[in-house]
């Protein structure tokens, strides 16, 4: 009886509008977002870490959503898979130069039409007008645009040397995530290997996201995956990471 009542309840429940629905994120990332998930129709700007941007969409692709990465020729598929992204549902469009100056916005718009999440690194040719148009497109289609900071930001940017749109300046972003601090563990003076990284992420934005939050994360955790971290580094050294080799 109870089962059938529950069944009836699901049948008569009001249909959730696209704007009200959330795409899931990994539990450790929930504190970063005001709705504890990626609100459909929103734009998230991530500065300073490609893996943070990938981690944002990992849970969504794992639960059946389609995503894509645009304009990220350096994206490491192995890292994406390690973070939990299902690569079958996460095609890559590494370069958009073939589409001319309007190629990047055209590709992102086409993908926002049909996919749930699009991770994109804007190139220099993108104008603020395009950004606003894409935000409107995402709002209309109920998809989520994750803008990854330009190549001047982050370690990869420093390595690649190029310059592009900084995510912090991306117009029309609902949520802004900025890596304030990053610290790797596991590597010493000539010994060990990179095992885990503690990130301090500052989350801000507009509307419900306007209140600034600081969240400490293991991305990746030394045991793999993403996990919350203690804010004070000295306390947060997990077991399994030796101080010095024997």
């Amino acid at each position: 009886m109870a089962l059938s009542l529950r069944h009836v309840a699901t049948l008569v429940a009001p249909v959730a509008l696209a704007g009200e629905r959330l795409l899931p994120v990994l539990p450790a990332l929930e504190p970063l977002l005001p709705a504890a998930g990626l609100r459909r129709g929103s734009v998230v700007a991530v500065a300073g870490s490609a893996s943070l941007a990938l981690a944002m969409v990992a849970a969504a692709t794992a639960e059946g959503s389609w995503g894509a990465a645009v304009g990220m020729p350096t994206l490491g598929p192995v890292a994406a898979a390690e973070l939990g992204i299902v690569l079958d549902r996460f095609p890559l469009v590494p370069r958009t130069e073939a589409g001319g100056p309007g190629g990047w916005p055209a590709v992102v718009a086409a993908l926002l039409d049909a996919l749930d999440v699009v991770v994109a690194r804007p190139d220099r040719s993108v104008r603020p007008d395009d950004a606003r148009r894409l935000a409107a497109r995402a709002r209309e289609r109920g998809s989520v645009l994750v803008v990854v900071g330009g190549a001047t930001e982050g370690a990869a940017g420093r390595a690649a040397g190029g310059a592009a749109w900084p995510a912090a300046a991306w117009p029309a972003a609902d949520v802004r995530l900025t890596v304030a601090r990053a610290e790797w563990v596991g590597l010493g003076g000539g010994w060990g290997r990179l095992r885990g990284r503690r990130l301090e992420v500052v989350a801000g934005g507009r509307g419900s996201a306007a209140r600034e939050r600081r969240v400490a994360l293991w991305l990746p955790h030394p045991d793999g995956g993403v996990a919350p971290a203690e804010p004070v580094p000295a306390v947060a050294r997990p077991a399994g990471v030796e101080e010095r080799p024997a």
Binding site: T74, L87, A110, W184, G190
Partner: protein
């Protein structure tokens, strides 16, 4: 505008007469719609010409035998000839009954030159013709030239035009040979009697004055092909094309035509029990711009899907004029086993929506621009993933195989640089860090500068982790352990260099995977 393909043409004169089974010695005329379309040599000697009314022809030659025209009979009768020519090369294009062509590149080399090939083909075809109609013994003529048009002319003369000589060979021919009476008449009245004179005119001027037809004629006169010779393999032509006249100015109009074409193609394929896995969509504008793109889909392209792709292709293509030609050619076919591939589980509607959007992106950027990553065995972070173009068949469950010793341990870097930027790594005294013969660091790295950028302090490091892959190829680098020989060391044949990876973190909080080979450092990947 590619160089025209060197082409051999086999021409059987008066084919409708030969196909009618009449010996060439008696006066025969083949008549369609009360007009003579072909006549035998004997009839021509009596003054019977193509285009005459039946009554006129009979007046000129009272003992004329009149045969009704049957294109089907012409084609059927030509089949043995085409089959004979196919014994030289499988890629034979039947231009019309009585006329077939193939690209000579391979066969010519095999038979020892164009002339020898032409003689061999002529002898073989004449043999077949002698078998089918022993009386009268019709003969064929074979010509070789650059481009189909010139080769056809050469076949009529039975000559071999040397490579590059097509334009010169065609120059004395009258403009009437173009086969466009209206245009030829106009050209003659403007004082352009020969193809040579037409070829001298600047192409843009011809295009501006005479439109697409003139441009096509100009191409032919210059010894270029109006259309490329499509080497196809039997069974015959499955391509469908539509000439849009007047040219379509709007994409919607072209898309409507494309839909009809796609249905026709699907019908043709279905008749043969085939499904196209790759279709070439070609479009041309009245201004002579053309674009072709290959569309591939493992599940077989349905008419709707194909029509959609045509539309996206046209959408993504900025033209200056209306569309004058649309052609769909199945480039690769497979037996249709009725299988429609599903998309890797999950919500099917969402998968199809995604597939459409990705195909659309392919329309904007090209088919290779959208890829799916497939994890694979390997050691370096860049080697462990294959990028497969979207829609192409992906390697099945790939066994990651035996363990990969020397693999870079997880976590994997989020950024792998396709073109690793150079980096300078020095120790505390400012001397470059290298690898000793025993595979250890020559000194602890203290600072690094990526691509000539600002120096950053190294906070932690590990390495070197030597790795030595594809040692059997033996062409790269030097025999010394990496770092011991300078960048100017000359690679000795059969020698190789070992490479080593390092992980470093810097004060900026960055973590990099560095590679050193032959003393040169580069940033292979970044943990960001």
């Amino acid at each position: 505008m590619s160089r025209p393909v060197r082409t051999l043409v086999v021409w059987c004169p008066d084919w409708p007469v030969v196909a009618a089974g009449r010996p060439g010695t008696e006066p025969v005329a083949v008549v369609a719609a009360n007009r003579v379309v072909a006549a035998s040599a004997a009839a021509r000697a009596e003054g019977v010409e193509e285009g005459l009314r039946r009554r006129q022809a009979e007046t000129r030659c009272p003992r004329l035998v009149v045969v009704g025209h049957d294109p089907g009979r012409d084609l059927r009768a030509f089949e043995p000839v085409a089959a004979t020519v196919e014994s030289f090369t499988p890629a034979v294009e039947v231009v019309a009954p009585g006329l077939c062509a193939f690209a000579t590149r391979g066969p010519s080399r095999y038979f020892g030159g164009d002339a020898a090939l032409a003689a061999s083909v002529a002898a073989r075809v004449d043999g077949v013709l002698g078998e089918t109609s022993p009386s009268g013994a019709p003969t064929c003529r074979v010509g070789v030239a650059d481009g189909l048009f010139a080769a056809e002319r050469a076949a009529r003369l039975g000559t071999v035009v040397p490579p590059g000589g097509s334009a010169g060979f065609l120059a004395p021919f009258p403009v009437g040979t173009l086969g466009d009476d209206e245009l030829a008449d106009l050209l003659r009245r403007l004082g352009i009697p020969t193809l040579g004179r037409l070829a001298e005119l600047p192409v843009p001027a011809v295009l501006a004055r005479f439109g697409p037809a003139g441009a096509g004629a100009s191409r032919l006169a210059r010894g270029l092909d109006e259309r490329p010779l499509a080497a196809r393999t039997p069974p015959p032509d499955l391509a469908v094309a539509a000439v849009l006249d007047p040219p379509a100015e709007r994409v919607e109009v072209a898309a409507f035509v494309a839909r009809g074409l796609a249905e026709r193609l699907a019908q043709r394929l279905a008749d043969r029990g085939l499904a196209a896995t790759r279709v070439r969509v070609e479009a041309e504008t009245e201004h002579g711009e053309s674009m072709a793109r290959l569309w591939r889909h493992d599940g077989g392209l349905t008419p709707a899907a194909l029509a959609e792709r045509v539309r996206w292709q046209l959408d993504g293509w900025k033209t200056t004029g209306g569309l004058s030609l649309l052609r769909l050619t199945p480039d690769e076919v497979r037996p249709d086993d009725g299988r429609q591939l599903g998309f890797w589980g999950g919500d099917r509607a969402a998968a199809e929506r995604a597939a459409r959007a990705l195909a659309r992106v392919q329309g904007i950027l090209g088919a290779e621009a959208v890829v799916t990553a497939v994890l694979d065995g390997g050691r370096g972070p860049g080697e462990r993933a294959d990028l497969v173009p979207w829609g192409e068949s992906r390697p099945g469950e790939r066994k990651l195989g035996p363990p990969w010793p020397g693999r870079v341990p997880p976590p994997a870097p989020a950024s792998v640089h396709p073109a690793p930027p150079p980096v300078e790594v020095v120790d505390a005294s400012g001397a470059p860090v290298g690898v000793t013969g025993r595979g250890a660091a020559s000194a602890p790295p203290a600072r690094l500068s990526i691509a000539g950028g600002a120096w950053a302090e190294v906070t932690a490091w590990a390495g070197p982790w030597p790795y030595d892959e594809r040692w059997w190829s033996g062409v790269r680098g030097t025999n010394a352990v990496a770092g011991l020989r300078g960048p100017n060391a000359v690679a000795e044949p059969g020698s190789r260099s070992r490479r080593a990876r390092w992980q470093v973190t810097t004060t900026a909080g960055d973590a990099h995977l560095l590679t050193v080979e032959g003393g040169r450092w580069s940033v292979e990947a970044t943990y960001d």
